[in-house]
Symmetry: C2
Subunit: 155 residues, 2 copies
DNA sequence: TCTCCGGACGAAACAAACTTGCAAAACAGA
DNA sequence: TCTGTTTTGCAAGTTTGTTTCGTCCGGAGA
């Protein structure tokens, strides 16, 4: 279904703070609270809104290390790729996993309490997987900007 | 402040769905609704909970291309790095920006409607910045797993 | 051991937000 | 223009969030 300007503006607000009262959203977009509520409900049912989540500070939880990993595989058959996707997706330390084009095949974002945990992960997922040709590690020193939002334009 | 097992369990729930009623959370963790409410309030004030956001499907918004970029800079003085951080953080297309160690200095996650928009971004931020030595692009073909959560353990 | 004190809890009362039914307005196609 | 469809706003009803208040538990000091 097509999203109109109201929907996009509502999404822009919810991506910043989904605890904003519908009445407040309504005032911002010039719509009544029930109208806002119905649009949110519809977008949720249609999958435009995938989830509503709290963003937690990793440092507060003692899970302070964020690591990017580029993974290159040996065999890129559909079956092998699917197997790798499943394996990466199943690991709780892997917060984000993308299958990409370029000089690598996968890019992972890993969050762990300490480097030792990352080493354990590499042994388990990379050295223990003989389809992994090579992987390259980048340790985050500063999370300058962290968002999962989608830029909303055209309203 | 130290988080106990109740806090961690509450966080685990809120990271999945922060619209869960406090009463329901209370039943899950064996606490009354007001107790849950007080803990959430405290964790929000302390910054453990950074934000409450809706996760939107980029495809639904027509912003379907996700791109990873490794950026290497020429000069790594503190002033230059801070300038780069500010510039990257200010770009709305850049959803995530990390300052990292390894073979690159920054890793960016860019979300744009089309490749042409990414090209415009490269001209503006990379070719237009004479401190950028080199950048490498990875286009996501499949967002296998997308999360900003933090693994919660020990409860 | 006893008492005091601070912190956290649960029950209940209260306030705010969400949800639904319904009639009217806006809109698209014939 | 007319009609059918869709969406809106209002108001009532329901659920959820918040505050209050009295109680309990655990530690510090006499």
């Amino acid at each position: 279904m097509r999203l109109d300007a109201f929907d996009r503006k509502i999404l822009a607000i919810l991506q910043k703070d989904n605890t904003t009262p519908q009445r407040t959203i309504g005032e911002a977009v010039n719509l009544s609270a029930p109208a806002v509520q119905r649009r949110i409900k519809r977008m949720t049912e249609e999958g435009v809104i995938r989830a509503n989540v709290a963003v937690v500070d990793p440092v507060a939880l003692g899970q302070s290390i964020t690591i990017f990993v580029e993974v290159e595989v040996i065999s890129e058959t559909a079956a092998q790729i699917e197997a790798a996707k499943r394996e990466f997706a199943a690991a709780p330390e892997i917060q984000q996993c993308y299958y990409v084009t370029g000089e690598a095949d996968f890019i992972l974002v890993v969050v762990v309490p300490a480097m030792a945990d990352y080493e354990a992960l590499t042994r388990r997922l990379f050295f223990g997987n003989n389809n992994v040709k090579r992987f390259r590690t980048f340790v985050a020193m500063d999370r300058v900007k962290v968002g999962l939002g989608v830029p909303v334009e055209g309203y």
